[in-house]
């Protein structure tokens, strides 16, 4: 992976930069010691590592603003970092950049039940938001599997999803407002407790921008009252196609379940051996369908789902009869990554989205690729919205296996695009998928996206080398060749 060439001039000024940072963030908030910097050398994509120039952990928006203004004026790059659980290398440090950690922004500032929102600092964990309100029966809906650890700021930067996103939306649908700091130190507020602020939807484009547009320093999210009850049903099928067809049949019957997840046989076996969730071992595909709402609704819909599944050829069906049983059904799915980590020394977690009807084809081709590369793969699938997580198993200690795994992964993602899908459903592009962007976008598509970057950060100081394969200078991107009066009147109907 080729990262932008570090600026030796900046590295030479390290001592001066440390002093400047210490003047802004007193005490232990500036980390310059190599041993301590190690803790920040990678995020959840552990195949890539790099020591940052230094790490700064500010505590106030004013400090963030001063840090960014200093870096802007002195040509120093910034890599924002939440909890470092990202799976695409978005928070991968750069040798000539300050890693700006938001972990000290860990306060819940305001809980406003009447307006159904909570105002929190970006370093609060995803689960921390729910914890702050669950005593009163509320929760924050998007629930990535990493929710114990990942930060809400990181969630916004990655537009994270979870198993309940089909019904309740992704991060972007649940964030009402932010305070953010631009690279030049300007502090902005976007949105708030009211809906749909007019003007361009900058909050919308910030969400999922992977730390390239600004540093988020405060977040207002929608909170919801917990559904009265929830029940889940496990459904087993002879093939993934049948499982996929069943999902379509449920949706076509007008039912949008609270969660609808699928696992293939390798994933079922890996998780069952790890957590003993009680999954059937003799099915090719397993669906977990969860219905939530008032008891009458849940009982009614779970019957209908079971009926539909029977019609679609389900060979196994079990409805949860207690909260413990429901939790057990989910325990396997929620531990799928560590479960695969247990049966393989290393694994790569891919994250493409496909039109659901292409599932059969994609899994079939993946099996062929698995043979070709000689690497095993297990699949977990957010089946409702077509978001596929193939887990490619390999051993980094075997020469060449990492490269083969990465090639295999790239082939899968190219296949996702080929069948009409996209490179990332929820983990982001980061460095991991950066060089595949051309599979999906033309040069003009990418340039237009980068022009938006230029409107926020014209010198590319914020998280450079991520998401976009080629860094164009903003002046070059903005240039427009206009031949005044030279274009003939277009040959189109006019009135």
């Amino acid at each position: 992976m080729l990262m932008p060439k570090p600026d030796q001039g900046v590295i030479d000024r390290r001592a001066e930069i440390i002093a400047a940072m210490r003047a802004i963030v007193p005490g232990e908030g500036v980390i310059a010691d190599d041993a301590m910097l190690r803790a920040f050398e990678c995020d959840g994509l552990m195949a890539y590592r790099q020591l940052p120039l230094i790490v700064v952990l500010p505590e106030t928006t004013a400090q963030v603003s001063e840090i960014l203004a200093y870096c802007h004026d002195n040509g120093v790059k910034i890599v924002p970092r939440g909890a470092g659980t990202g799976l695409s290398g978005g928070a991968l440090p750069l040798a000539d950049a300050i890693t700006l950690g938001l972990s000290k922004f860990n306060q819940v500032l305001d809980i406003d039940y009447a307006n159904r929102c909570a105002v929190v600092q970006p370093g609060v964990t995803n689960l921390g938001v729910t914890k702050a309100v669950e005593g009163d029966g509320f929760y924050y809906a998007p629930d990535p599997s990493s929710q114990i650890a990942c930060s809400i700021g990181g969630n916004i930067a990655e537009n994270s999803g979870g198993v309940h996103c089909l019904k309740y939306g992704l991060t972007t649908n649940n964030v009402l407002g932010v305070e953010m700091v631009l690279m030049d130190g300007t502090v902005l507020r976007l949105g708030g407790k009211h809906l749909d602020p007019g003007g361009y939807d900058l909050l919308g484009v910030l969400t999922g921008s992977e730390g390239l547009l600004g540093v988020i320093t405060e977040v207002t999210v929608r909170i919801l009252k917990k559904p009265e009850t929830a029940r889940a049903v496990l459904l087993g099928f002879n093939s993934s196609e049948e499982g996929g067809d069943c999902v379509a049949a449920i949706i076509n019957a007008g039912i949008i379940p609270g969660g609808i997840e699928m696992m293939d046989k390798p994933a079922i076996h890996a998780t069952e051996e790890f957590v003993h969730a009680g999954y059937p071992m003799d099915v090719e595909a397993l669906l977990i369908v969860e219905l939530d709402g008032p008891k009458v609704e849940v009982d009614y819909l779970i019957e209908r789902v079971s009926e539909i599944a029977k019609g679609e050829g389900a060979i196994y069906s079990r409805i949860s009869e207690s909260e413990e049983e429901r939790a057990a059904f989910w325990s396997g799915r929620k531990n799928a990554f560590p479960a695969v980590g247990r049966i393989s020394p290393d694994y790569l977690c891919m994250d493409g989205t496909i039109p659901r009807k292409k599932l059969g084809l994609v899994l079939q081709r993946m099996t062929e690729m698995s043979d070709k590369y000689g690497l095993r793969v297990a699949n977990v699938f957010h089946a409702g919205d077509g978001n596929l997580h193939p887990l490619i198993m390999f051993d980094a200690n075997q020469p060449g296996e990492l490269d083969r795994a990465e090639e295999f992964g790239a082939d899968i993602l190219k296949l996702c695009v080929e069948v009409g899908g996209v490179l990332s459903g929820e983990h982001g592009i980061g460095v991991e998928k950066r060089d595949l962007m051309g599979e999906m976008f033309t040069e003009d598509d990418l340039k237009q996206q980068q022009r938006v970057k230029c409107a926020f950060d014209p010198d590319h100081h914020l998280n450079p080398g991520k998401v976009y394969p080629t860094l164009h200078r903003c002046a070059e991107l903005g240039r427009m060749h206009i031949s005044r009066g030279q274009v003939p009147f277009p040959d189109i109907p006019r009135f």
């Binding site: 003007g199 609704e297 996209v422 033309t442 409107a455």
Partner: protein, 408 residues
């Protein structure tokens, strides 16, 4: 006479924009022009009429995604969705009657470009939340796309969000993909009679804070309620507060009962069934109380935190007269006032300054919309950033100049 360019294909849209750039001739970009009264009057010599870029190109109900030409009539979209028992969950409003035109006109591209969302906004999100991807021609005269035709996607910046609500000022969309959802099997509305604005919004907040997935929460003061075409509402003789629940039959009945219990301490309670519910929420959605005899009034849409709604509503009427009604649990105030040259803009924006929010002038004559900031003015740094975003797409100011902000 303004010349109208009417491309048949995306390639011709590209030709038209390239030509306009070279001639420095701004374009007034239109679907069918049903919302020409929304936003500031565009200062453009030529109209780019997209009405031939119509038709649904891809729709597989099981995938919950629909792709269409931007000028596909909403009527056509609604019909195709209805046949599969689906809908656009954000409930786009039909501004036809508000502008004194017929209902049932307008295009999908127009709905997205104006980010129009109705009462279900509070549960299902806005148009922007259902807009998955597009192809377009930028004001630079370049073809580009963003997003996709799948429901979950973090592949590059989400430019769809920028396009939604940009009123055609950034790029001309030539194809759009939206998320669609099943229609609820059953709908009911619980009505609370005679509550004043403050109690009504308190009741609505309770309902929204319950687990009943409330899909509409409105309050009509008595003078507004009496103009409803729904007998239960106009006949009440009092203020009417309403919450909507949707879903499978048994569930709706259960939720209705709980909400009736929740409302009981606030006053007398009634219920609307499917047919009346549909008619009632259409009125709320389309600002029906301010159409017809009210055509001469200016109309504002004011978005605030729901709990601030009643105070804002009270201050608006005290300062400027007129009438209000509330949607979005109190968070959206529709305000009609006697026409005046400044449309009361400064007063209105002073009223909402402390609670946070924004006010948009949705109906006034062109000279007023020319003189008054139609959209909420932004603080300096935010306005500067928005201007840079505009320049990133349309540096020459070719597309709908002035539609959102004077000089942008």
């Amino acid at each position: 006479m303004t010349e109208i360019l009417k491309p048949d294909t995306a390639d011709q849209v590209l030709d038209a924009v390239k030509w306009a750039v070279s001639e420095a001739t701004p374009l007034d970009v239109r679907g069918t022009g049903t919302k020409a009264g929304f936003g500031r009057p565009v200062q453009a010599g030529r109209v780019l009429d997209l009405s031939n870029l119509a038709g649904i190109t891809e729709y597989d109900p099981g995938e919950l995604v629909l792709t269409a030409g931007p000028a596909t009539p909403m009527a056509e979209i609604e019909q195709a969705l209805a046949e599969a028992n689906q809908e656009l969950a954000f409930e786009p409003m039909d501004l036809g009657a508000l502008y004194g035109n017929g209902a049932g006109a307008g295009t999908l591209g127009g709905v997205i470009a104006a980010n129009l969302s109705g009462p279900r906004r509070i549960k299902a999100g806005a148009a922007r939340d259902h807009f998955l991807g597009f192809q377009a021609v930028s004001g630079r005269g370049e073809v580009f796309k963003s997003g996709g035709k799948v429901m979950k996607n973090v592949t590059g910046f989400d430019l769809s969000k920028l396009m939604a609500g940009s009123f055609g000022t950034l790029a001309v969309m030539t194809q759009v993909s939206v998320k669609v959802l099943p229609r609820p099997e059953k709908t009911r509305t619980v009505l609370l009679m005679g509550a004043d604005d403050t109690h009504a919004v308190a009741a609505l907040c309770d309902a929204l804070g319950s687990s009943h997935e409330v899909a509409g929460a409105a309050h009509l003061p008595a003078s507004v309620a009496q103009r409803s075409a729904v007998g239960y509402v106009s006949g009440a003789g009092t203020a009417v507060t309403a919450v909507r629940v949707e879903g499978p039959g048994p569930s709706v009945e259960h939720r209705c009962k709980s909400l009736r219990d929740l409302f009981a301490p606030f006053g007398a309670v009634e219920e609307l069934h499917s047919h009346n519910s549909a008619a009632f929420w259409r009125e709320i959605r389309d600002a029906a109380p301010f159409t017809g005899d009210w055509q001469d009034h200016q109309v504002w849409r004011v978005s605030v935190p729901p709990t601030a709604g009643p105070i804002v509503g009270q201050h608006l009427r005290a300062r400027l007269g007129g009438e209000v009604y509330y949607d979005w649990g109190g968070g959206l105030i529709w305000f009609a006032l006697d026409a005046r040259s400044d449309a009361g803009a400064a007063d209105i924006r002073r009223v909402i300054r402390d609670c946070g929010g924004h006010a948009t002038l949705v109906r006034a004559t062109a000279d007023v919309r020319q003189a008054v900031a139609v959209f909420q003015p932004q603080p300096g740094p935010l306005a500067d950033l928005s201007k840079r975003v505009k320049e990133a797409f349309d540096p020459e100011g070719i597309l709908n100049p002035g539609r959102m902000t004077a000089g942008v």
